[in-house]
């Protein structure tokens, strides 16, 4: 009786190891990670795939200037994805709704009289009256 209980216990142990191993392998396979990305994990400016080029460009422009807050042009403001990613990624630079340089993809999105401050491939910053 005791021998049988010990055998059962041992088989349960083997079964538990095998089950955990299988589950762990599937879990690892399903996770959205890449082995080569580990090498760049400590990069200071490593962006997430969730960040669009336009947001990266905004960060470069913000980093080069002196303003601590920025506005978005009406078409950019209409896109919640851009607004949210810009708010998160640009911080500590803040996205506000007045009295700050404005990011726009095209000058025509803005009122007349805006002066170009800086320009990157995907976006530019303007000083508007």
């Amino acid at each position: 009786m005791i021998k049988r209980a010990r055998l059962t216990k041992r088989y349960m142990l083997y079964l538990s190891y095998a089950f955990l191993l299988v589950v762990l392998v599937f879990f690892t396979k399903n996770e959205p990670w890449r082995f080569q990305d580990i090498a760049i994990a400590t990069d200071k400016d490593r962006p997430s795939p969730a960040i669009l080029q336009i947001i990266l460009d905004m960060k470069v422009i913000a980093g080069a200037g002196t303003s601590k807050s920025f506005q978005l042009s009406p078409p950019l403001l209409a896109d919640p994805y851009i607004v949210q990613r810009a708010t998160e990624f640009l911080y500590p630079y803040q996205i506000v709704d007045k009295n700050a340089p404005t990011f726009a993809v095209d000058r025509n999105e803005l009122v007349k009289g805006c002066q170009l401050i800086a320009k990157r491939t995907a976006v530019a910053a303007y000083d508007c009256p």
Partner: protein
Amino acid sequence: MIAHNPLFSSKFDVLWGVAAFLLAFNLLNTLAWAFGFYLHPVAYCVAASLILLEWRKSNMWVLFATISVFVVITLGSSIAVWDARSIWFFHAKRIFFEATLYAQLDKYPGWSHSDYPTLFPALAASVARAFGYWNETLPKLAVVLLLTPALLFFASAFRTASFNFLLAGVLIVCGSALLNGNVDAILALYCAAASVLLAKIYYKALDRVENTPGWYLNAMFALFLANILLLKNEGLLAALMLWVCWLPHLYSRPAKSAISQLAILSLPFIFYFFVWKLPLINNQVTGDTFLPGMQARLFATLSNADDLIELTATFARICGFYIACLALIVAFSIRQKMAIRVIPIAVFICGYWAALFVIYLMSPHGLTWILATSADRTWMVPNLCVVALGIYALGSQRLEINHTKFA
């Protein structure tokens, strides 16, 4: 004394102590940020590495290997999902740059849920501070750090086979939510650990074999409650329900002991109130669940057959299997005369299922949208508790039989 206890082996005392230290570290780190300081995560890692002192135990190697896999996955991916980006890591980024726990209380931006507690963001900010800069990957290590104390507790509470099955259960139930930067899986794991502790407390309250000192169990339970409270808003619901389920065991205690235990278990709520709730009240920051018109929304959803069917169908899809499992566990425990350990946790789990059901009925957002974006995550908490309870009930049953036979 403890060595005679089949449910709590004295060989795992180091793990128990390390888990308690890490839970206390989380709280102290949150408190430190409230005053503009932080605790260095190296202390966390050094304490966690003490588990290697138990290198002879297979639980340790399983835990070590699993945590290593978690670290690799975390470093190989960046923050992607909405809640993680726009709530948890954005709050962490604000704490990191503003050097205060309360940076988010200025309600910038309006959609970032400024009322959410900051235990996890504070730890992520500490990780970033330890490296000296913020990027989109390293703060995610806070997820693994936060998972560690609960996993350590399980490693100490379960024998090898049970622990392996439990780990597999955690991976299956939580899936991609475990490491994506959301706090739901961490909350689920902490609630599951607190549930197992609750079972041990009840076992101790009536029993012949559980020799672990009562204050030991209660202090650990209090540490888990304090962490649960500061993890998520749902944590308040979970902690209150766990506390209510814990109360009846005082009935069998002498008055002096009951009062001291009650005092220990009130500390997490006092800590939560002063560190988080009071600053929220002072800054007039409120959540979006308990807004005026709750009752009207509740009756509106109840009177809408389509909404009710949709909610019930989603609940049945996510929780149906676990409800059946819980019924089997309760039936099994009654048959084996160990219902006293299982019933309080079953009450907690059923209460949590029901409370979330009612909260969804009162949701100010569209029911279809809110269910699609959150139901899987929120109901994960009671579902994981069912898994932990099932493994605990089956495992402890086997241990008790062995104890009776061979002791």
